[in-house]
Symmetry: D2
Subunit: 394 residues, 4 copies
């Protein structure tokens, strides 16, 4: 780390990489260049043309097609490539002593996530995971209300993350549907990580679960309008019944084929003395019911984001002007920078990510076996060796 | 049946009995006295004072405290008493050749429901069950859209019925919490019947399930502010993962302790070509997403009830003027009267009710056993004899 | 009035007459037959076939095509015919000592309304006007909150009543568009009466106003698809700026051509210490903002109707089960019956209706003259003689 | 303009200046540094401490307390200071040949705005005005739908901009309430400019209007909790009835005292074949009703922002992830840069701003005079000399 700066290497310049690139730029402005100034040092992407174009656009000092090269000149890496590439990059980064902000799902499997987490722990670097929605002011305010005790203990949680990017039965096959490139988890890997992270953030660790999954569009054309069709290798939809260590319970559901739902990450949490609810398509609002309001005047309050809610005021002082998705990425990066400066991880860190990965796999295991799975967050024993299948991504 | 009239005996004059009594009166007016004129012949309630007052108010020809007496002078009975009394009354009614409209949950258990259904079938009378929400114009319109094929096959369903009538941890014990009087099912018996009926109405029979339940307020005062507290004997909350015979999947949840949710029966059904959603606190609205709308102009449509939707026009010709709960009871009674005249049952009938009762019990069995239960709608073998516990209600 | 009964004559058996007929039947059941039992004595409609059919359906003892005949045998009349017939019927009814529940708009003009009110006052009968929405529990609860003083004084009001029954430019001409039959006011007569009544109910009398009107579909076919087209004689849309006697201000708007708005009577009332809002398509909900909630937890509360709100509990004891339009008509009739028994008028009565009629006309006068009109509720001087045009309806 | 760069001077580093500063930084990243790269050259603020801190945070090359100094080294200025300072700065900037992006309301009065516009026209520089909401993708999509002709001509418009920043009667006096510093317009100047700009954007120029205004909290403490109180010099609330040149009509309302409304800029526009509606607290959604949907399936569609809507895709490719207020400022700056490169103004430009200023003043004039004002957008004659009062800001 050179002189109060934090030099970033961004690996992957697609949708989510671009958001990270914008955040590197924005974070110094929104929050001020403290405790460390973020520097956009190098951008790596396998696609040379995209690497060059995005580096210019996002203001990186230079670009490369070789992520290994990117590691050398930086203090921290943001890993924003498909999951099958995570393990190799992350382990190399940790070994080289680089701090890591890794997109979710981390690795192809919980085994890979575990290896990444172990490498990060051994290297004593700072890690963070791209749980973007946990940075939303209204979700953090929900947590504040819980921690403050106003609502009593959580009792039951209902969560979902539904989108429709694959609702069209003839939408073409993509890497996300290929178990070698995306892993065994489909909607769970892409969307489940987010809603499980929120469930755990508000209710704590999961102590047992049962799951159900379904793949409804079983084959897809290799490309738009092309024959033959290829078999889809992971689930379109999953549901689970959850028990939390605290005694709370819940249901969650994820879908990538839910017509009309565009970014529908949503939850409702009933507590002893009130209820919280939020929907991702209206992420700047929190619904709150407090049981002490008089019966004639009680109802869910629609709270619009304002400067009483975490981090919002740094963007706009006036209420209800709204944050966008890229603003959440800016908050995410800010949390990472603060953690680097403090020599700690961002919560949830890679170790927590392993737990979430195991929960996703346990949902699939339960669906396949028809039984409840207890202690789904625990590693199944000594870390398994990397299997051939997992190695494919290299 | 005397001369184009249908003489009704109403057994039970509490909240739901009163709605039925209003419906007997309204049905002739809203739909005209055809095919049969409903006649409010006799009202029975164990509480003499309530029997007399409600009979006068609701326009019954006479009242009694003895339900057996009520059976004699009528063509049909509406059974609106707590579940533990259903079996004795319903079997007697069927045996006497009286048509039966029975409130849900039917009987104390699926065993009792099965006996009732058997008696009804043997007597060849018309039966109907108080699945009030299935009569809502917008839920029926949802079914019409499915049957018409516009949306393709159902894929995944998410349903809930959440209320907060027991959300206060110190709300007193009531018969609903006593297994002897309400049965083994708590929220499932009261609320689960409704949402499971909707799930089956839209998606068909349930082929397997797993469940989870919880009782969070484990003791309650016998009466407001009184000590000691009594143990609650059935669940406050239940969740389930469902598989339908068609291959569709779903999640459902019921809660009687969900602060702020007053009549929150709600569902979202994703189909091949669109999505339907509805929430009971806004029962005069249906949300519809159709995938053929252009991407820039697509979104859920909020459809307000109008005369294109089943039965609404009989109440008000102008759109969006809204029906209330008692109007749904009027439609329910209308369907019953039409079925009586046609010599058939209302769908879902008592046989279907048995299946729903078994689904509720299977959710509890699955929660207790930690395994998926297949064919939950099927009777477990030859009808079991009435047990002592079940007999208590007499 | 015979022996604790109140014998009703219903004049007009169309949409709104039918709702009144249902209410005569329902009111004894919902509220009990006290202080007076409503009796459906006679129904009059010019269309013999409709008269007979509706009388049978709605349970009237007899029917007639001659409203004069209907007057004879009753204690009270409900006038549910087009406005051009109001004056003759109402004056005759009052002269005969019959109580009057008259639909809005009362008469063809404020002059006619004034004559009706004078006749009613002279006869000392009880009068009421069909301001149905003023009977909605959540609008009455809004008034309760204001009267209780929690919110401080009203400051600014925004109201509208928008529907789309004439939004189609080719929808055929109807009596509502004919000044001889419907009066000078179009949307103001049909919809403006409702929203002005709400404005006055919550904010008090109007002390000055300016108005703007527009007729956008200036001709319409005489019947579906028929040529030639006929000129529309009153406004499709009107807006007004209002000053209330209390110093509060407001805007109102009415439209009968607002695509997509089905029953969109809505208001927002900002007070010194909070805000109330309600929308007619969700008439069972009230929005309430209270400024004393903490800034991080403040927001509009969505209050669902429950038994803490006026009259709801008489229909259903459970919260949020909803009332429909016909239930509001039942409450309206109940208020009328109570007023008859007490020997007083329902507020707003015919005298208030005259004021509302004058406000509607003042909006048109202001629109035509381009000036603010002060004291719009006051009669312009000695009652004007009935003009030929007004007499046409006879 | 030096070599494909556009050097910016930002004058004013408060809330809105900060958003502009963030935008200078973000615009190159989101849209790429083309056609011109925005450079944060110099920031000016009278408060030295704020100038220094914001310059560092927002990445300006240097800072100053003297706006004249800021003019020298730049190609364009962003004027983000209170209105009383606009005229002097803008005229100097234009005279010096600097392009101008000026916040609204432009100048203390329409006279000042006219002088600024004249100076800009004479200097042939590019001008733009901070009509931020006109840059929102869903408002622009509304305009696209209108221009495409799908909905037919606009018929009636209802708009409002309500906030509650002065709803507390004891909120202290501020420069916005002082006619010398903020001008004769209160809520109209701050909020009216936005909603009038939207009305004109969608419906075209305003041909006549009548207005009503009110100041309800007539005195305020000079500072929090301090005595004595000072008289408020402009309106808390205004309403207007509008006629557009096209024949369309409308109502608008502004309030700075509307408890619970945080950023409630909203409109509903009824057209010949459908209706558009939008609310600022949910700025990433557009409501659309199309009259050709079948009656049973018609309803307002809630359209979530996606890449089919202008500029959204540059921020996030995935739908419904949302833009925040600062993103709108980035789009605003982008439009300005494109206009500079093309040698034209952004629409609406300073000449349009003069018209909006005149509309605001005409609303007040109408309220004072009680008459309709025709041609409110036209200048009243030869440009009036700067008065003493207007000169105060210098």
């Amino acid at each position: 780390m050179t002189n109060e700066s934090l030099r970033f290497g961004l690996i992957g310049a697609g949708f989510i990489g671009q958001s990270h690139g914008l955040a590197i730029n924005a974070v110094n402005r929104v929050f001020g260049p403290r405790p460390l100034r973020a520097v956009a040092t190098v951008l790596a992407d396998l696609d040379e043309r995209r690497a060059r174009a995005q580096a210019e656009r996002l203001g990186f000092e230079r670009w490369t097609v070789d992520w290994r090269e990117a590691l050398e000149a930086v203090d921290a890496v943001i890993i924003a490539v498909p999951s099958f590439m995570h393990m190799e990059i992350a382990v190399a980064a940790a070994t080289a002593g680089k701090h890591i902000l890794c997109e979710k799902p981390v690795g192809l499997s919980s085994h890979q996530a575990t290896r990444i987490a172990a490498a990060a722990a051994a290297a004593e670097i700072t890690s963070a995971v791209g749980f973007t929605y946990l940075r939303a002011p209204m979700i953090r305010h929900a947590k504040t209300l819980l921690d403050r005790g106003d609502l009593g203990r959580p009792i039951h949680f209902r969560g979902r993350h539904a989108e429709d990017y694959l609702a069209d039965a003839d939408a073409p096959f993509s890497w996300r549907l290929d178990a070698k490139l995306a892993g065994r988890c489909g909607a769970l890997g892409d969307l489940g990580w987010h809603i499980i992270a929120i469930a755990r953030y508000l209710c704590g660790p999961i102590s047992s679960l049962s799951g159900l999954t379904g793949t409804f569009h079983r084959t897809r054309p290799e490309a738009e309008g092309v024959q033959p069709r290829r078999e889809v290798e992971n689930e379109d939809w999953a549901g689970a019944l959850l028990q939390f260590g605290t005694g709370a319970v819940g249901t969650i559901e994820v879908s990538r084929i839910a017509h009309g739902r565009k970014m529908d990450i949503a939850f409702e949490l009933v507590c002893e003395n009130g209820t919280l609810a939020l929907a991702g398509e209206r992420l700047n609002e929190l619904q709150l019911y407090i049981d002490s309001d008089p019966v004639g005047e009680s109802g869910f309050r629609t709270i619009h984001v304002n400067s009483a809610h975490p981090d919002y005021g740094a963007f706009v002082p006036a209420p209800a002007h709204g944050l966008g998705f890229n603003d959440l990425k800016t908050i995410e990066l800010r949390e990472f920078i603060v953690a680097v400066a403090a020599g700690r991880n961002v919560d949830p860190d890679l170790e927590q990510a392993c737990r979430i990965a195991r929960v996703c796999e346990a949902i699939i295991d339960s669906a396949e076996g028809g039984t409840t799975i207890t202690a789904p967050e625990q590693a199944p024993g000594p870390a398994a060796p990397v299997t051939d299948r997992e190695a494919v991504g290299r």
